[in-house]
């Protein structure tokens, strides 16, 4: 049997990420339901929601322009593009030279940018509110992301994802070095902020005035909503893969043999489940912050990133 080539693996891992993403969010929801002493929806609930949304009619505001109808595709495309770039299963990916960690961050910002514009398009007050808040949070989490990238890049000498993973694999002590742990903490907080999780934003809220992400997409329905939701879920999975595979790279396949890929898939699932449990427990324990306390949380993550760099400079 011929070995799968790098390109097939890269495409396959993107498809896998797309397929797994709703399940991951379903798992988080199920875990949270259990932590609230509820029975909860089954793990595959998000798949059913996607199927339903794709089958429904789209209602578009009469004030909306073409941008409103293009934005879901831009959001989805940029997130899928990121899925090609990051190491989900195997390194080095043939797409590794295409984009590094900075490209990943800014591609996601591209999606956010268009979604925020789409929030303003129908001329609804809620959409504007959501856009304004989303961009505020996104802008304030940028420095943390950049510094966390800096801390990772200091170790590997490069911002390329393949090189970061390879470096940590070659030097396992680095994974427990304080610089890495602090950068992990910083990126975890950013993951919460970028994905609209508690305590920054409540993904299950019904009150418009407390919304961030949800307020922007209040006007979307049917297949457009399905694309946006799917992209948002994929983003969670991608952030989890980054957290899992950059900081704890063991299991990521370095050769493209079926056994190595199978092992990579198994470890990936294990990492996702662990992170899902951590997130669910964390979200159960904390309350949503007031919007104007969010900068404080981001300042905490910023300080973590500063410490990560400071420590990395010294250990070097």
């Amino acid at each position: 049997m011929p070995l799968p080539t790098g390109y097939t693996v890269a495409i396959a891992q993107t498809a896998l990420a797309l397929l797994l993403a709703p399940g991951l969010v379903g798992l988080i929801r199920w875990l949270k339901a259990r932590l609230q002493n509820r029975r909860g929806a089954p793990v595959w609930q998000p798949y059913l929601e996607l199927r339903k949304l794709f089958a429904k009619e789209v209602v578009v505001s009469s004030n909306a322009s073409w941008l409103f109808r293009v934005a879901p595709f831009v959001v989805f495309a940029s997130t899928v593009a990121v899925a090609f770039l990051i190491p989900v299963l195997a390194v080095p990916s043939p797409f590794d030279p295409v984009g590094d960690l900075l490209v990943v961050v800014y591609l996601l910002l591209l999606g956010t940018f268009f979604l925020a514009l789409a929030g303003l398009d129908p001329g609804s007050a809620f959409g504007g509110m959501g856009s304004s808040r989303e961009m505020t949070v996104a802008a304030l989490s940028e420095p943390t992301v950049a510094l966390a990238i800096f801390a990772l890049a200091l170790g590997a000498g490069s911002t390329n994802l393949g090189q970061i993973v390879a470096r940590t694999m070659a030097d396992p002590a680095a994974a427990v070095s304080p610089g890495y742990l602090l950068a992990f903490g910083a990126l975890f907080v950013v993951t919460l902020a970028e994905n609209g999780r508690l305590p920054v934003d409540n993904p299950a809220t019904h009150l418009e005035l407390t919304m961030i992400h949800e307020a922007m997409i209040l006007e979307y329905s049917g297949r457009y909503l399905a694309l946006i939701e799917w992209a948002a879920w994929l983003k969670v999975l991608l952030f989890f893969s980054l957290l899992g595979n950059l900081f704890v790279p063991w299991g990521v396949a370095t050769v493209l043999t079926p056994s190595a890929l199978g092992w990579a898939l198994a470890t990936l699932l294990a990492k996702l489940v662990v992170l899902a449990v951590v997130l669910a427990v964390f979200e159960t324990r904390v309350a949503k912050l007031r919007l104007f306390r969010v900068p404080e949380l981001l300042a905490v993550s910023f300080v973590l990133a500063v410490l990560a760099i400071t420590v990395s400079f010294l250990v070097r």
Binding site: S61, F76, M129, S132, M135, A146, L218, R223
Partner: protein, 684 residues
């Protein structure tokens, strides 16, 4: 030949404007002259930078025979690749700006003559093209001053507005202030034989003491920094750029302030040949502060053109971050990283010229259509001006550093240079780099937020005023100009793999940078980093193609799948309210409100809410007026005291202005005696 054609083109344009003054002939001929000049400038620059065989051979041969009146080492052919880059930037923005002016100035018909603006535009372009070519103090200062005067006159085009006069006064004041420092820097470098040739200056500079060199550099940095709009010398910029006609704003923001960058590079690298690390550190710090403060003030701005002007401060900051990092690496003898820093700065210079030019032209089209610069009176323009909106969107995405456009690529190069900061041996200096990274990242994130506001409030939603409702798409010439620049934003991003090595060659040889290109090429952009064997690599072209492919594939896939295709148009959801009015939308002020609160310590906002109650009962409100104002720090705490002091001093001096002829004659004689006395002292 081409050089002469460029000069002739600009002069022809100026002459045409003077002769015809109004009508379509004047508009077309003026623009044609500028376009010819710009095209020649671009040809010269491209041939020089990319080293095209046929073109460059011809050019050098032609220019070797200089016309007689240029002989004597006054102006050189652009054998300095650094000059060629800036010449190219001038030409590249001159073409669309001139094209744009054809449509833009049509609205002046019957109100305003084209004579002054048209002639000044061409002379402005000519002097800007010649500034980087000057090889001699005299000519440099002459063209520099010509650029300042012509741009001042262009700013004053709409001199009937008191706001414009105010802006012009600030601009003139700051320009002359800067010129003073530039002259001082030049004269300190002047060799004993009095030759103002730059080569002689560089030779003389090598013999100066380090202290004097530093003094020269700081003077030059203040002088050119005031032209570039570095904080805290930026105060003229947000008022002068918006006051000018939009194509002139595009040139001022896109091109003219870049010549400040050229000046700093000229002094820092070519004349002084690099210096101690703190020079670079100073430039880097000023750049980072400018980047952050520029975008923070832009966020609070609801005047579309002022917002763009503040973003120029931000982007100049980013350019100076790259240049400063390069200078620091140079002083620590890390040439590969130094090249990266300079290349990042230069690349961003070119990119910023394109997208800021585009954005100013877009803002001009909006102004042309709605007759207002206030974003709170716009809205919904995407439906009435779809093409302008699309081009503005491209510019907004580029300036927000979104991949795969050019703004992202050059910021990426600057980021990579800063990441290399870890190799600086002096750790307390190296710490500057992560701080700069954080500030740069915050600035680019806030820029994205700001352009969501700028585009969203201006073009999306429902029209907020009658003018916005009646807006019409810009004339074709204006659209073509914007389309060209939008295309340039896409191409410059995708062509990074060609641009970066070319710019690497440009900076090579300056101040002892390695002649060999340190940047390797394939289809992707690959830059060497600090760690041995490590490289940073991105490929903007595949990103662009990949995104385009996905954007086509996803709708097709959706179409082919069993997904529903039904679509219905309905009202905007507003919790079931009866009717939606434009006043229910989010405003620009509301959009920026969270950030205004978060950075309240910087903005020092003052708020003023006055509520008009119903006379019968306080439970019924008739109207609420909300006014928020932020205090611009530098104006208040730096400039106002100085200006007050100057005015007070001037008032005291006024006492000697008696008006009596005898008194003035007495002053003359007294001055003469004092001068003679000084001369005698000097002689002995």
């Amino acid at each position: 030949m081409i050089f002469l054609l460029m000069v002739a083109g600009y002069l022809f344009g100026a002459l045409a404007a003077l002769l015809f003054a109004r009508g379509w002939v004047a508009r077309w001929l003026t623009a044609a002259g500028a376009i010819i000049g710009g095209a020649c400038a671009v040809t010269l620059a491209v041939a020089e930078v990319f080293g095209f065989d046929i073109g460059s051979f011809q050019i050098i041969v032609v220019l070797a025979r200089r016309p007689w009146w240029l002989q004597g080492g006054v102006i050189q052919d652009p054998a300095q690749p650094l000059s060629a880059v800036f010449l190219g930037v001038v030409g590249a923005i001159a073409i669309p700006a001139a094209l744009y002016s054809i449509g833009y100035t049509r609205a002046w018909e019957g109100r305003r003559s084209l004579r002054m603006p048209g002639a000044m535009l061409n002379l402005f372009l000519l002097s800007m093209s010649l500034v980087p070519l000057a090889e001699n103090i005299l000519w440099f200062v002459l063209f520099w001053e010509g650029m300042a005067v012509t741009s001042y006159l262009l700013v004053m085009t709409e001199a009937e507005e008191p706001e414009t006069v105010h802006a012009g006064n600030w601009y003139l004041g700051m320009t002359q202030f800067g010129l003073g420092f530039i002259l001082a820097a030049f004269f300190l470098l002047l060799p004993p034989d009095g030759s103002g040739d730059f080569t002689a200056l560089a030779k003389h500079a090598a013999t100066l003491s380090p202290g004097l060199k530093s003094l020269v550099f700081v003077l030059a940095l203040i002088g050119f920094g005031s032209k570039a709009g570095l904080v805290p010398l930026h105060v003229w910029l947000p008022s002068a750029h918006p006051a000018a006609p939009s194509h002139v704003s595009a040139l001022m923001s896109g091109v003219m302030i870049k010549l400040g960058v050229y000046g700093v590079l000229l002094f820092g690298l070519r004349l002084l040949g690099g210096g101690p690390a703190w020079w670079g550190g100073l430039v880097l710090t000023l750049g980072a502060v400018s980047a952050l403060l520029g975008v923070l003030y832009a966020l609070m701005e609801h005047d579309l053109k002022r917002l763009l002007a503040y973003h120029s401060i931000e982007n100049i900051g980013i350019i100076f971050i790259g240049v400063g990092a390069g200078m620091m690496f140079l002083s620590y003898d890390l040439p590969a990283l130094a090249v990266l820093g300079f290349v990042g700065g230069l690349y961003h210079t070119i990119n910023h010229a394109c997208f800021k030019g585009l954005l100013f032209l877009g803002a001009g089209s909006v102004l042309h259509a709605t007759h207002t610069r206030n974003m709170e009176e716009m809205g919904g323009l995407i439906k009435r001006m779809p093409r302008t909106a699309l081009f503005f969107l491209v510019g907004a995405a580029a300036i927000s550093a979104l991949p795969p456009l050019n703004g992202f690529v050059s910021e990426w190069v600057v980021f990579q240079a800063l990441l290399g900061g870890a190799s600086i041996p002096q750790r307390e200096v190296a710490v500057l780099m992560p701080i700069a990274v954080a500030m740069l990242a915050l600035a680019s994130g806030l820029a994205a937020a700001c352009f969501v506001k700028a585009f969203g409030i201006t073009f999306l939603g429902i029209a907020r005023s009658h003018e916005a409702e009646q807006a019409r798409e810009a004339p074709v010439s204006m659209q073509v100009a914007m389309a060209a620049l939008a295309l340039a934003c896409v191409v410059l991003g995708a062509a990074a793999y060609a641009m970066v090595p070319a710019l690497g060659r440009v900076v090579a040889g300056l101040a002892g940078l390695p002649p060999a290109s340190a940047v390797t090429v394939s289809w992707s952009l690959r830059v060497p980093l600090s760690a041995p064997g490590a490289v940073g690599q991105i490929s903007p072209l595949p990103i662009l193609l990949g995104l385009a492919l996905l954007l086509v594939a996803i709708p097709i896939g959706l179409w082919l799948s069993r997904a529903s295709r039904a679509l219905r148009v309905s009202d905007t959801w507003g919790c079931g309210r009866i009717a939606q009015t434009p006043r229910m939308q989010y405003t620009a002020a509301a959009f920026a409100e969270p950030l205004r609160r978060i950075f309240a310590a910087l903005y020092r906002p003052t708020e003023d809410v006055s509520i008009d109650f119903h006379p019968e009962s306080r439970y019924f409100v008739q109207s609420i007026a909300y006014r928020a104002h932020i205090i611009p720090w530098f104006e208040r705490y730096l400039y106002d005291p100085v200006i007050d002091r100057v005015i007070a001093w001037a008032a005291r001096v006024r006492a000697i202005q008696s008006g009596s002829l005898h008194a003035y004659l007495t002053y003359l004689v007294a001055a003469l005696v004092i001068m003679l006395g000084l001369l005698m002292l000097w002689g002995s």
